[in-house]
């Protein structure tokens, strides 16, 4: 594949197709991923192309879906499964956190568990408190899971192919607000797990932001540019393992850090990042590193409330101003 323009949604379907094409062990199952092509249409055409033996619809039973993927992976298969709205990770949390994440460790390496779990993350669409969460934050304290959070079609494609090839369990979080985003996709570099990307260079402050917030951080950076503030924007792309090094080099230059995240502060990836850098790079900070995130509440439904709940470019700009004025 040379570089193509695809939507984020198409990039996902393409990544799965490309891996299924070259590896018979790859299969896909989940609720309505087959005949219907997925509730987010991110698996459209795959059942037609690869047949119902490799693209299967399941009953509504997420524990069975995850468990079945684990078991199949033990026999060498490479299951890609969909949990639909990421919030449904709650009903199969044990399978993800206690089984999938720990299986290899508890058996001292007798098994590998190459399962890719796709989940649709994030707020902003008016889906309410039980269909809008960013669930990477539920799993940060569960060693054994690799967690990916693509924000562009290109990253969605590369990270998903990398996830499927990875012999370890991967949670792959798709942001619902990005499915329609268009961008270039290529297979030139699939070695992307654990590598942040500097998506805008700058010298005054480092904004670390993922998924929908990456795009808002970029908007904020544009607004700031008009004020002669030069913001560097980094998309971690991978939550676990986190590329601290790229962030560290950035703040070596900017000496200021703000994490922009789509969740409340407690136990968040942003808090983890700040604590880590406070612990090993305290001297780099000119001002206190800040967390700009969702409110410390469940996510409200009403359009007005949800918009207020989510960090806006303006809120990011505000936080930058406060930081630089410190």
């Amino acid at each position: 594949m040379s570089v193509t323009e695809l939507t984020y949604r198409q990039a996902i379907a393409r990544a799965i197709a490309d891996e299924m094409e070259i590896d018979d062990r790859v299969l896909l199952f989940g609720e309505d991923v087959g005949a219907a092509g997925g509730v987010f249409k991110a698996t459209e055409g795959l059942q037609e192309r690869f047949g119902p033996a490799r693209v299967l619809d399941t009953p509504i039973s997420e524990q069975a879906i995850v468990g079945c993927a684990i078991g199949a992976s033990l026999r060498g298969l490479r299951p890609v499964i969909e949990i639909m709205f990421a919030d449904f990770a709650g009903v199969c949390f044990d399978q993800l956190a206690n089984e999938l994440a720990k299986y290899r460790y508890m058996t001292n390496g007798q098994v590998t568990v190459p399962v890719t779990v796709r989940l649709a993350n994030g707020a902003g669409g008016g889906f309410g408190a039980q269909h809008s969460q960013s669930v990477e934050n539920w799993f940060l304290n569960v060693p054994g899971l690799t967690i990916l959070t693509p924000a562009t079609p290109g990253d969605a494609y590369a990270l998903l192919r990398a996830a499927i090839r990875d012999v370890n369990p991967v949670l792959y979080l798709e942001h619902k607000g990005l499915y329609n985003l268009t961008g270039p996709v290529s297979d030139a570099d699939l070695d992307v797990i654990g590598r942040a990307s500097v998506v805008r260079e700058g010298s005054d402050i480092t904004l670390v932001a993922s998924q929908l917030m990456r795009h808002r951080a970029l908007e904020a950076a544009e607004l700031l540019a008009a004020e002669n503030v030069s913001a560097e924007v980094i998309d971690p792309r991978t939550m676990v393992p986190f590329d601290y090094e790229t962030v560290r080099s950035s703040i070596t230059k900017t000496n200021n850090l703000i994490c922009v995240q789509e969740c409340s502060p407690g136990g968040s990836w942003g808090a983890t990042l700040i604590a880590t850098l406070a612990g090993d790079s305290l001297e780099l900070f000119d001002a206190p590193p800040l967390l700009v995130g969702g409110d410390n509440t469940p996510i409200p439904y009403s359009g007005a409330l949800e918009a207020a709940w989510l960090p806006s470019p303006e809120r990011i700009v505000d936080a930058v101003r406060r930081t630089l004025a410190y």
Binding site: A36, D57, P59, A304
Partner: protein, 332 residues
């Protein structure tokens, strides 16, 4: 106010299938149909956010079951719960308001289409995680046992829900503790876009009751009187302390699963077949047989239509919530 409303709904319990009663049931079913049709329109107009799951074609189940309840009883339902919440007596304007995220919506705009709740009329919540409310219903019912009142708790859920773990755990505990719970499975043949037979290795879902030592009964969910009869038996059993019942109501979702679904997966003819058995049509026909004056039915239809449209206009005129409202009610 709320109490009066449920009282109104409750009056229909009288066993006599009188004119009056039939017309009341019809009015409620027409109200639900009217609300759902308007919500569908609002969605198209961009007035509803996220998603919405409508119940056109399934009205007889909610209306029939809720007609057997009395004050102090409780009800839980799903994201496809507008009908059930209205059947309990919630006001249509507050339902519309919530769906539009207004401050005066049932949940102040915090819940939305999938979470309509009106505790004042016994509607304890609509749940968006498949199966999650079944265990909660067990607790609502258990409380009646614990408190020694004769309340019962009804739980509506879909056919697809019978495959999830929470269904199993809830029915098991409900039966073990002989809680006054009534599990109403609305078998509308589909879970999202998947026909039941592609996700479930058995056909008769009521058969699953045997695993829990409780009665499992099947009923024509489009026949509101049949639903009432079946529900009355389950309610009586529950009130008598004899434990829960699983009711499988056979019905049909005349619309797509959710706003974005054109329902192309339906076999040809299926929709038409079920439209011919539309619960409202069936009830009207029955009432006509019972020599209800056709003019009264026409008049009722017009009344309900007007009331729904007025409720909608009222709700549209309401303001959005204040932004600070989003911080309220995380904790008590």
């Amino acid at each position: 106010m709320a109490a009066e409303r449920t009282a109104a709904t409750r009056r229909v319990v009288e066993k006599t299938k009188s004119d009056e009663r039939g017309l009341e049931l019809l009015a409620k079913m027409l109200e639900i149909r009217g609300v759902e049709d308007e919500v569908q329109r609002m969605f198209t107009q961009g007035l509803v956010r996220g998603t919405t799951h409508l119940c056109q074609g399934q009205e007889a189940v909610a209306v029939g079951v809720c007609a057997t309840l009395k004050q102090g009883d409780s009800m839980t339902c799903t994201y496809r719960g507008h009908g059930a919440v209205l059947a309990m007596g919630a006001q249509a304007d507050a339902v519309f308001g919530e769906i539009m995220g207004k401050a005066k919506g049932l949940c102040g705009g915090k819940g939305g289409s999938m979470h309509l709740t009106d505790v004042a009329v016994g509607a304890y919540g609509a749940f968006a995680i498949v199966g999650a409310h079944l265990p909660i219903t067990v607790g609502l019912a258990f409380a009646s046992r614990y408190l020694g009142d004769d309340g019962v708790s009804v739980c509506f859920f879909g056919d697809g829900t019978t495959n999830i773990g929470a269904f199993h755990e809830a029915l098991n505990l409900a039966s073990l503790w002989k809680t006054p719970a009534i599990f109403v499975c609305e078998n509308n043949l589909y879970g999202e876009y998947s026909p039941l037979r592609t996700t479930t290795p058995i056909e008769r879902l009521a058969d699953r009751a045997a695993s829990y030592g409780m009665p499992g009964v099947v009923v024509d969910g489009n026949d509101v009187f049949a639903v009432i009869d079946t529900a009355e038996e389950a309610v009586a059993r529950a009130r008598a302390g004899e434990g829960p019942t699983l009711i499988e109501a056979l019905t049909y979702r005349q619309v797509g699963h959710s706003r974005s679904d054109p329902a192309k997966y339906r076999p040809p003819g299926e929709l038409e077949e079920w439209l011919a058995r539309d619960p409202i049509v069936l009830l009207e026909r029955k009432l006509a047989e019972d020599v209800t004056d056709p003019a009264r039915i026409a008049e009722l239809k017009e009344q309900v239509r007007q009331a729904v449209l007025e409720a909608l206009e009222r709700a549209k005129s309401w303001p959005d919530p204040e932004l600070d409202a989003r911080f309220a009610n995380v904790l008590a």
